[in-house]
Amino acid sequence: MDLTPDDVQRQILDSVGRILERGADPQHTRALLEVGKYDEALHAELAAGGFFELPQAAGPLEAALVCETVSKAAGLVAATATGLVYPMLTGEAAPGPVALASDKGQPFRLGQFAKVILILRDGDALRLTPQPGDVEPVDNDRTGWPLARLKPAALSRAEKVGDGAQLLNWWRTGLAIDAAGAMRGALDVTVRYVCERIQFGRPIGTFQAIQHRLAQMTVQAEGVYWLALEAAYRNAEPAAAARAATWATTTSPLVLRETQQMHGAMGFTREYPLHLWTMRLPALQRELGGLSAHARAAAKLRVAA
């Protein structure tokens, strides 16, 4: 047992941190989001740096560490699907941005930018290389992700690439990693805000009513972080993946509600960046059937064990 990053892991985190510092500034991300674009430059830089090939080069844990960091910086790229789920499922590096979709026609994250889409259908993992018209953007201002929908006709061209359960487990692991990053990012912004925002002659972060809630959220979000890393380390072992997704979706509503609340009206503006993190959480919360699906899976796996 050793929960401290080793030298190689630290170097990987440092170098992705430097890329994100240059490439994932919140103003830039917000501007892209407003015009419905993908951060091609950031994606290209991460790809060129080999960060999407970490599963083969180092391992899924290293990939997960990077994906969490990208999410924490609110990078507008499909890092987890591209750099963790796809390579772990197929054993190959992704040819470009990857999106994850169910076959039920629901909106899914970043689908309009995907070079390849992994689809969970019955017991199978399918791969689709979308052609023009297969995917249409969904007009939404509810989440921090551009969403898209897959046209049912496109499904017939999708080919089987693996086991559906495998995709499900990696997807759960990935969404927990994305949620951990989004929550930890939202908490960082909120901690800064409550230290600066003066009301009643003092920073609102001095009020115990604020402090305890932030501390409680920290406990929750750190728990998600470690469960997500463990799930990646264990190769998305079903129970570990279900636990991570369960705790991520249990915790997300709390962090969403509370970090928004602590910002007051400022948190609802497009100008202030909080929404870059918080508005991603509702989308993550809904994927794959949401909390009750993950929690019931965790329970069934426990009972069966």
Binding site: M1, Q9, C195, P203, Q211, A215, E230, A295, A298
Partner: protein, 379 residues
């Protein structure tokens, strides 16, 4: 990073289980019994056997009767013992923080005597911290120790003290300078419990038999050589000791055992097919797993030589939450049967954990200041 146990650790856990099969007191059934004086002989024999095996204080340095074993091995021992109702009795505190506090601040004589006895497994301690007017605000404690020649004369009282019935010594916090600021006038006395003037009153409570005591001190004469560390500098020692206390016990494994019984009961009654109960089981399972990893993070920091951090507060709150979730679920699943004491559906246990070892509110305060660096109000 590595989330798996080493081969040596796995072997160690196996050998601990074999040891337990041989050495656990006959008829031992755990829960909430370790306060009772009648179990003291059992706990002593068990700890002496652990000591003979070299495991009681294995994580201590060799010079103090330890084996320089990794904190992970000690954590494994705690994981195996705590869910059994802690057959070490109060001696788990000796190993986790009383001994380490003495290592940090003790005189050569204190180290030789106390660390020797603790590592031999033949001594029991209680913790003289809380007072009627000093609970969460522990530094406002008022039990007074006045220097008189080679002694201190102690007057005052301690309350909610556990393990008094078995205690040979008390790790006692006293005020030696009433003029100084709250934290600057506190000293520690390693006080034998058989000194004249110590009145022990039992407080009837509903979380475990004989859990609480009120200690009243009337002109107790404590030799000054029993003081731990410098006069008026006790708070720093205690702060450090408390961070070891918080995660010394593997509550997540207690929660796991309760959840096992919940699952069995739900299976028996057909509730296991209920989607909502399944969801709650999954959530409790995730909460337990999260609190386990957050506790491992604390052990890991220690294994890497880090000084205590607020990670121990985070782990403590997570453990408390896991116990609460599983306790509330047990309450539902066991129904009326949960009203019987010693039922896993007994909600009282979960209620007590968020108060013991520093209330959840105090843990959150420390996370807010130490981890998040939120500002203090200077009004």
């Amino acid at each position: 990073m590595d989330f798996d146990w080493t081969e040596e650790d796995v072997e160690y856990r196996t050998s601990v289980r074999a040891f337990l099969a041989e050495n656990l007191p006959a008829g031992w059934h755990g829960y909430d019994k370790t306060n009772l004086p009648k179990y003291k002989a059992d706990a002593r024999a068990f700890c002496e056997a652990l000591s003979a095996r070299g495991w009681l204080t294995q994580n201590w340095p060799r010079e103090y009767g330890g084996q320089d074993a990794s904190p992970w091995r000690h954590a494994i021992l705690s994981e195996e013992l705590w869910p059994l109702g802690e057959p070490r009795g109060s001696q788990y505190m000796n190993v986790n923080w009383i001994g380490p506090a003495i290592m940090v601040a003790g005189t050569p004589e204190q180290k030789a005597y106390h660390l020797g006895r603790i590592s031999a497994g033949d001594v029991f301690w209680c913790q003289g911290f809380s007072e009627p007017d000093a609970g969460s605000d522990l530094p406002s404690l008022r039990t007074r120790a006045v220097r008189d020649g080679d002694d201190y004369i102690v007057n005052g009282s301690k309350i909610w003290t556990s393990h008094v019935g078995t205690a040979d010594f008390c790790f006692l916090l006293v005020r030696t300078d009433p003029e100084a600021s709250k934290r600057a006038g506190i000293s520690i006395l390693l006080m034998p419990m058989d000194l004249p003037g110590i009145d022990v009153r039992h407080i009837d409570g509903f979380v475990g038999e004989q859990s609480f005591h009120h200690l009243v001190f009337t002109d107790v004469r404590v030799p000054a050589v029993y003081r731990l560390g410098e006069e008026n500098r006790g708070w720093d020692i205690v702060r450090r000791a408390l961070s070891f206390e918080r995660v010394g016990a593997a509550h997540y494994d207690t929660a796991t055992l309760i959840l096992n019984e919940v699952v069995e009961e739900a299976r028996r009654t057909g509730l296991l097919d209920d989607g909502e109960i399944q969801s709650k089981i999954g959530e409790a399972e995730a909460a337990i797993a999260a609190s386990r990893l957050l506790t491992y993070r604390v052990v890991d920091l220690r294994a890497h030589g880090s000084p205590p951090t607020t990670d121990s507060n985070i782990a403590r709150v997570a453990q408390t939450q896991a116990l609460r979730l599983v306790g509330e679920l047990a309450h539902v699943v066991f129904g009326e049967a949960g009203l019987e004491s010693h039922s896993p559906g007994d909600i009282r246990r979960a209620l007590a954990y968020s108060v013991a070892a520093g209330t959840t509110e105090m843990q959150l305060d420390q996370i807010a200041s130490g981890h998040l660096n939120l500002p203090k109000f200077k009004g």
